[in-house]
């Protein structure tokens, strides 16, 4: 394969990934509004297009044509850079997520993943830490008090839960023996008891901790005190309007999809699932299974939002540092012992 071919393949994949994410976000925002509405005995947006599916598109168009105000005391350069800085990490994380089994056409194999880094998990952790900068800078550069309060909360929260998020991944890496995303999915393709997928859900505590920390990372309910409307208006994006606000919004929903997709890849067997039928089905069923699982997790996000009230700030910190981190540390110990027994046998035998 020549260098040009690699370059073209990468470019096509990047563009496809970008389009895929935008479409997913359009669907997600609409789906969230509909699901939460149904849970609250309302109807929800159902006017634009069939079932209101074009509502997000209409809202996006509206934001695009609206004036983008700049507060007089804003640090202008950083102020306009922050939304972009929020969007870029969100887009970058998706690049390493495999959304389907590799497709073999002729003698070429195409992976349904923009690139498979051998340090995939570390890359994800590193990039997701960058999102904190965007929020902190957005809050600070707005030159206004509510954004500043929101960004201070956001940085403290995201740094605290980043630790729990990282610790929850350690058992996964230990069991899979690799940090590459494709490798982790491949490690889960076996079967337990003949019919269950050998998913890392058996690392249940890790799964739960990862999900909870994921809620906090994406600033979703019940950890959405970063943008608690009742206290600090919109949080870090209070002073943003028009398309700059839309970029923050886009980043938030891409992050939700990323966290859900990561949960599926790391714990729920990725694109694994029964594959049958003609060649076209063999290609697309893995993508279908992946999306099905991802949307199940995303439904959980919506469900939690419709159910749980917001946590208080001290509760949030106490929960992160005094519960999640000790539990994940203990769980790492346990899984190390389990792995040791599996490899070397019981100490007395």
């Amino acid at each position: 394969m020549s260098g040009w071919e690699i370059l073209i393949e990468a470019a096509v994949k990047v563009v496809l990934a970008f389009v895929f994410l935008l479409v997913i976000v359009l669907l997600l925002v609409w789906a969230e509004r509909r699901v939460v509405a149904v849970m609250q005995n309302r109807i929800g947006p159902n006017r634009a297009g069939p079932f209101g599916i074009l509502q997000t598109l209409a809202d996006g168009m509206k934001l695009f044509f609206k004036e983008s105000l700049t507060p007089r005391r804003a640090e202008f350069g950083i102020y306009i850079a922050a939304p972009v800085a929020a969007l870029i990490p969100a887009l970058l994380i998706f690049l390493v997520i495999p959304i389907g089994a590799p497709i073999v056409i002729g003698d070429r194999e195409y992976t349904l993943q923009v690139t498979d880094l051998n340090v995939g998990i570390l890359y994800v952790l590193a990039i997701s830490s960058l999102a904190v900068y965007a929020i902190t800078l957005a809050g600070w550069s707005s030159g206004s008090k509510y954004p500043l309060l929101g960004s201070v909360r956001a940085s403290a929260q995201m740094i605290s839960y980043e630790a729990a998020l990282g610790l929850a991944l350690v058992p996964v890496i230990m069991f899979a023996g690799t940090t590459s995303m494709a490798g982790i999915v491949a490690a889960q393709q076996g079967e337990i008891l003949g019919f269950l997928g050998a998913w890392h859900v058996i690392l249940f505590p890790s799964f739960v901790i990862f999900l909870i920390a994921g809620f906090a990372e994406t600033n979703r309910a019940p950890f959405d005190l970063v943008e608690a409307e009742q206290e600090i208006v919109g949080g870090y994006h209070t002073e943003y309007s028009g398309f700059r606000f839309a970029l923050f919004f886009l980043a938030e929903y891409i992050n939700i999809f990323n966290i859900a997709a990561l949960t599926v890849v790391l714990f729920l067997g990725g694109w694994g699932g029964p594959v049958f039928g003609p060649q076209i089905l063999v290609w697309f069923l893995p993508v279908f299974w992946f999306l099905l699982k991802t949307f199940a997790i995303i439904f959980l996000f919506f469900w939690v939002r419709a159910t749980l009230p917001r946590m208080r700030y001290d509760q949030l910190m106490a929960f992160g540092w005094k519960r999640l981190i000790p539990i994940s540390l203990a769980w790492i110990m346990l899984s190390m012992v389990a792995l040791g027994i599996r490899r070397f046998g019981l100490p007395w035998s």
Binding site: A37, V38, M39, Q40, N41, R42, I43, N46, W303, A306, T307, L308
Partner: protein, 220 residues
């Protein structure tokens, strides 16, 4: 132990939200599906006429005096000798209601001695400017044929037929609305709604109130 039960608490909430997904929504698809309004709904006001076309308003300004929002402005004038507008001595020759200030409490309806001002079932009164929200005498006064003027045309939101409904509050506060007054005096008929039938719990009124309005004025 208590911490454990505390942990279980949120999960009961999840069951609640999940159950509610399968319930019928309590909201409706608004302009197409409108909820049935109560009989004594407080919509926009109208100034009524007697069936013979005389205006009921006598320009006494009691409505303006009682209005807690001070949204009503009335000026009375003497009736022209040759061509009287209302049966009394005077008539309301300026009548304005600022709908932006109105709180739709219907105190004006209660205060009115001649049942000139009553409320209808129409509440869709959106305007594009503050000036348009001030309903003048021309907007409020029922036409002689009983049809009701409205600044906006009939459409998906505005059902002009609703303007024909709803003298309920007047009936509740009129003396004849009470059981002890049953069959004695009744609400005066109007060009807009005609003779109102007796309400539930009341026997049919034997003698319909006289169409001669000055008499009923004197009785009250």
């Amino acid at each position: 132990m208590s911490e454990f039960t505390d942990l279980l608490g949120p999960f009961k909430g999840f069951a609640v939200t999940f159950r509610n997904m399968f319930r019928k929504p309590v909201t409706t698809q608004y302009p197409e599906v409108k909820r049935e309004k109560p009989q004594r709904f407080h919509g926009r006001h109208v100034l009524n006429r007697y069936p013979d076309g005389m205006e009921k308003c006598i320009g006494c300004e009691l409505c303006a005096g009682v209005c807690p929002a001070r949204c009503i402005y009335v000026r009375g004038a003497d009736n022209p000798e040759d061509e009287p507008v209302s049966p009394g001595e005077r008539f309301g020759f300026v009548y304005e209601i600022n709908m932006l200030r109105c709180i739709f409490c219907a105190m004006c309806v209660e205060a009115c001695p001649t049942e000139a001002i009553t409320m209808t079932h129409l509440f869709e009164m959106s305007v594009t400017g503050r000036d348009d929200a001030i309903y003048t005498r021309d907007d409020l006064l029922v036409h002689e044929d009983g049809s009701v003027p409205h600044p906006q045309p009939d459409g998906p939101l505005i059902d002009i037929a609703e303007l024909k409904l709803g003298d309920g509050w007047m009936r509740a506060t009129a003396p004849s609305g009470r059981a002890s007054y049953e069959g004695v005096v009744s609400w005066t008929p109007s060009a807009r709604t005609g003779n109102l039938p007796p309400e539930r719990g009341q026997s049919a009124v034997g003698d319909q109130p006289s169409a001669e309005p000055t008499e009923s004025d004197n009785e009250q």
